[in-house]
């Protein structure tokens, strides 16, 4: 919610997410993938570029368990990971 009171400036307009909302993972099916991803982040000083493999795996887990719509990995920005399977530095 934008609360800036200045008249002239642009206010923030929230936009709906492109692919909608994630269904909640009530049963914790992908929790282990999430834990791996969080551990990777903590080890790498929260740099996202080094943990993209783990995030890809988490999303794949979701897609398998119908917690996310199936999408080719390129559309999610993981095109380079799909070929090389190696984390970029």
């Amino acid at each position: 919610m934008s609360t800036a009171m200045n008249f002239g400036s642009k206010s923030f307009q929230p936009r709906a997410p492109d692919k909608g909302s994630f269904p909640l993972d009530h049963f914790g099916e992908c929790k282990s993938f999430k834990e791996k991803f969080m551990k990777c982040l903590r080890d790498n000083n929260f740099e996202n570029a080094l943990c993209r493999n783990e995030s890809k795996e988490y999303l794949e887990c979701r897609m398998e368990r119908q917690l996310m719509a199936q999408e080719p990995l390129e559309k999610l920005g993981f095109g380079d990971l799909k070929d090389g399977q190696s984390a970029r530095n």
Partner: protein, 271 residues
Amino acid sequence: MGGLWCPGWRRVAFYGWPWSHPGSPTMAAERVEPCLRHGPSGTGGAERGLRQLGIWRRPSLAVQPLRRLKSTNPFTRQQEEDWRRRNKTVLTYVAAAAVGMLGASYAAVPLYRLYCQTTGLGGSAVAGHASDQIENMVPVKDRIIKVTFNADVHASLQWNFRPQQTEIYVVPGETALAFYKAKNPTDKPVIGISTYNVVPFEAGQYFNKIQCFCFEEQRLNPQEEVDMPVFFYIDPEFAEDPRMVNVDLITLSYTFFEAKEGQKLPVPGYN
């Protein structure tokens, strides 16, 4: 009979005011006028009597001007009348313009809204990003941006809602994943709905969420704890925007509200 009296009256008038007095000719002329113009012979004795007293005022059938013209010279009188008429028209135009401006300022509000709806501008002027843009976008490696996370809960909602990482370092053009955690400590299922905010506002237009948990009702059962992911990226055009040169920190803030029956959160977009 009237003619006999007039010369005498004229002499009396001119004793009081010398002919060369600048202001006098009008007054004297007006006083002399009744004498110079012979009244209609039908008026009779009353007119003569008033003329003797010097207070005869010819009943004028013509409309008197509201204001006396300043000039007495008949040549400039016409000019002055022209000026007055011109001034009046100018004044009318100016007044009309002022009223028009006032009306335009009132009309601007709905007109601007209409314009924004047709052209799609107005606060979120970003070229549409399709999913194929994600495929083709190239990360801008040299521009590292720190994204911090913030979580808020409305007072009436009793969830424990917090981010699972305080910050994450991303570059524009690279998709990133982040997690929030929510726990329902009560003994009743609670439905929440969230919205988000990005600070600074101008950077918010480059912050694109592919998928998240906002704007939809999320139900948590009693004592349930879930992970809520946010999958986002920052548009690579962020690196080319001159206004964003000094922006290195973006804060993503989520706020959860309790969803009541029949209440709809306003859909993001132009309302």
